[in-house]
């Protein structure tokens, strides 16, 4: 069986969706299916080019392919009689990110006609799909709301769970993932200032925005916590990242209203680490049961500090919550073999 994974590409840009496609290919091959990735170029600016690129996807001819697994708009417009869509996201600028009251200037020139073309193409693409999955309840909800289409939620698994085996807690709280204002690493620094001096924090991940790294370092100095925080602000390789996670006492992740469970939380739970998050973190809350698998606090420095201090004060209790987090995660049964099975059903 030849399975073609169809994804978008923008030259010289690599991110989560690209990584997911690579791991999907690897896991299809582990299931004795031959798999290849087709990356169709897509530039959404200028918006005047979007219609042509939708047609481009529509006009490509596929032979020698038994099944297509398509991930994104407009790649999922490709024609195939055995097409499964695993929708990571639609063209959000045309839906939930489109606000008629405050239109994006880039969209104005294209008026309602482009929006209608996108909705029509989506209806056609999803209508001809053999099965429709989404990567999260939020994506499924958007699909229902805007396109009246039902999709089944199929969470992307941790790409390399074998790396996150857990390990001895070495006495720090770890905060991984992309570093930006939406992920609120600065809030953790502010909280750290309210914790006893024994609490240590590690923030590691690629900073987004020119001054993000410098700002965080300056903030740590200002708050007087520079000696208790390690800032490892760069794109870590997977082994380095796993080492930080496996040695943590607990993992903190505070995105603002995340769509999905989030890789950071999923990896922490895989490693058996207790989770610290905030009540407004969105999908992440699916893994964090306060008092059982971790701590859920208000998004304030004081409230967070309490949770951080508690996680450091009683390592055995924190360890128990970590194991419970792993159990909670395992109960989701989000594994590559299971995912591949559903995509090929």
């Amino acid at each position: 069986m030849n399975v073609l994974i169809v994804n978008n590409m923008a030259p010289f840009v690599w991110g989560g969706a690209e990584e997911l496609a690579v791991h999907l290919k690897r896991n299809l091959e582990l299931a004795d299916v031959s798999a290849e990735i087709l990356r169709i170029p897509f530039q959404w600016e200028p918006t005047a080019g979007i219609t042509a690129q939708m047609l481009l996807c529509r006009r490509l001819e596929l032979t020698n392919v038994d099944r297509v697994i398509a991930l994104k708009f407009p790649a999922y417009l490709i024609r195939h009689h055995e097409k499964v869509i695993w929708c990571l996201h639609q063209f959000r600028q045309a839906y939930d990110m489109f606000d008629p009251a405050a239109p994006d200037p880039a969209m104005v020139a294209n008026d309602a006609e482009l929006l209608r073309a996108i909705a029509t193409a989506d209806a056609e693409a999803f209508g001809e799909a053999k099965a429709i999955f989404t990567n999260s309840p939020v994506t499924a909800d958007r699909l229902r709301r805007f396109n009246s289409i039902d999709g089944q939620v199929l969470y992307p698994p941790v790409n390399d769970p074998e790396r996150f085996g857990g390990g001895e807690a070495e006495g720090y709280i770890f905060a991984g993932g992309r570093v930006n204002s939406m992920k609120r690493q600065h809030l953790l620094l502010e909280a750290l200032a309210f914790t006893p001096p024994s609490v240590r924090l590690v923030i590691a991940g690629p900073p987004e925005g020119a001054s993000t790294a410098d700002d965080l370092a300056a903030r740590a100095e200002e708050l007087g916590v520079a000696d208790r925080v390690t800032l490892d602000l760069r794109l870590l390789d997977r082994d380095e990242l796993a080492e930080w996670v496996n040695g943590a006492s607990a993992c903190a992740y505070l995105p603002r209203d995340e769509d999905s469970l989030g890789y950071v939380a999923m990896e922490a739970a895989t490693a058996g680490k207790a989770l610290i998050t905030t009540a407004d973190a969105g999908g992440v809350l699916g893994l964090v049961d306060p008092g059982v698998t971790g701590w859920v606090t208000e998004p304030s420095p004081e409230a967070l500090a309490e949770a951080m201090a508690a996680s450091a004060a009683d390592p055995r209790a924190t360890r128990r919550r970590g194991l419970a987090a792993r159990e909670r995660w395992n109960a989701f049964d989000i594994t590559w073999p299971r995912t591949v099975e559903r995509l090929l059903a």
Binding site: F12, S34, R59
Partner: protein
């Protein structure tokens, strides 16, 4: 490309990408599917025309219709046309070419190709033959840029045993059967080794011929995938290599592998591109495509070993003369 079909055309892209990366450039490879069915010829051409790769500083296009992708700074390494509308027009396996509809499509395709070729800042080809076709059909001048092996360093003349080897796919148009038939006419103890995977019907036919002509002790048919190490080992130890395809576009990787290992190449007058590399009597033999003529050449390779070795060495020098190396490719393609 066609999904799940791998071969020379993908290798040249992957290898160039790797070499460009090694030279410090940032490289992305875009492979888009294409079928050469007349009904969807222009639909697909339009699709390629809508591809936006303006984020790249330079675009290097290979197989059609990739050259239709618009870009201000595009070079082509053109390795073939959509052949049924060009050099295979009217060929026996496309019997209905001469209809009004197909002729009209062909004329429109040539016009569109001419326009796309004209957009390129430079056109390279992989062989003289392809360059000649571009001149004939499209009136376009081009520069031949021979595709090197990815890593030729493993090829060395380790020894010169009694084997003539042919390592390539076992297919009718590669004509391994001619070599087997030739073996029946040889008068020396020269041996033949055929390695490669291929068409099972053709392999059976080869096996039958070997059995019928009682050649089992002098012809080895190794019909399986052999990895690079094994291939290097076979080529490095052979007496000479044989590559006798029917009318190919280029000299073929087997000829180049033999050249790097300082081995003479046996080919035929109708092989197409092989004579771009091989000159008869200088760095190999170009025989008539008959069993008798090939047998005579095989015997000569076996008997006059000094000359065979000298031709092998000359073949290695020929690679340098033609500048078949990555530094040259990269210098030219980024010029």
């Amino acid at each position: 490309m066609v999904p799940f079909v791998h071969g020379g055309a993908r290798n040249i892209v992957d290898w160039l990408a790797t070499k460009l990366t090694e030279h410090g450039h940032q490289v992305e490879t875009v492979l888009l599917p294409h079928i050469d069915h007349p009904d969807v010829l222009f639909d697909q051409m339009a699709a390629f025309r809508w591809v936006d790769l303006s984020a790249a500083d330079r675009l290097i296009c290979f197989r059609p219709p990739a050259h239709h992708v618009p870009h201000d700074n595009k070079v082509l390494w053109f390795i073939h046309h959509i052949r049924r509308f060009y050099d295979l027009w009217g060929a026996s396996y496309f019997p209905d070419s001469d209809t009004t509809q197909l002729t009209g499509l062909r004329d429109a395709l040539v016009a569109a190709d001419n326009a796309a070729l004209g957009e390129a800042r430079h056109v390279f080809t992989n062989s003289r033959i392809v360059s000649d076709r571009l001149a004939t059909y499209n009136g376009v001048d081009s520069e031949v840029l021979y595709p090197p092996l990815f890593d030729p360093s493993a090829y060395q003349p380790v020894e010169r045993n009694d084997e003539i080897v042919a390592v390539c796919r076992l297919e009718h148009h590669k004509r391994q059967h001619l070599l087997v038939e030739a073996m029946a006419h040889t008068t020396t103890p020269v041996t033949l080794r055929l390695c490669g995977t291929g068409n099972s019907g053709y392999v059976e036919q080869l096996r039958d011929t070997i059995a019928c002509t009682a050649l089992a002790d002098r012809v080895i048919l190794d019909d399986r995938w052999i990895d690079d190490d094994e291939k290097v080992n076979v080529v490095n130890r052979c007496l000479a290599a044989a590559y006798v395809p029917e009318n190919e576009d280029s000299y073929g990787y087997p000829s180049l592998e033999a050249a790097h290992a300082a081995k003479a190449v046996l080919t035929t007058t109708d092989s197409g591109g092989v004579p771009e590399l091989i000159t008869d009597g200088e760095n190999g033999f170009i025989a008539e495509p008959t069993p008798e003529a090939l047998a005579d050449a095989m015997d000569q390779l076996y008997l006059d070993r000094v000359r065979t070795e000298r031709m092998g060495e000359a073949n290695r020098e020929r690679v340098g003369e033609l500048q078949i190396d990555w530094d040259h490719v990269i210098e030219r393609i980024l010029a």
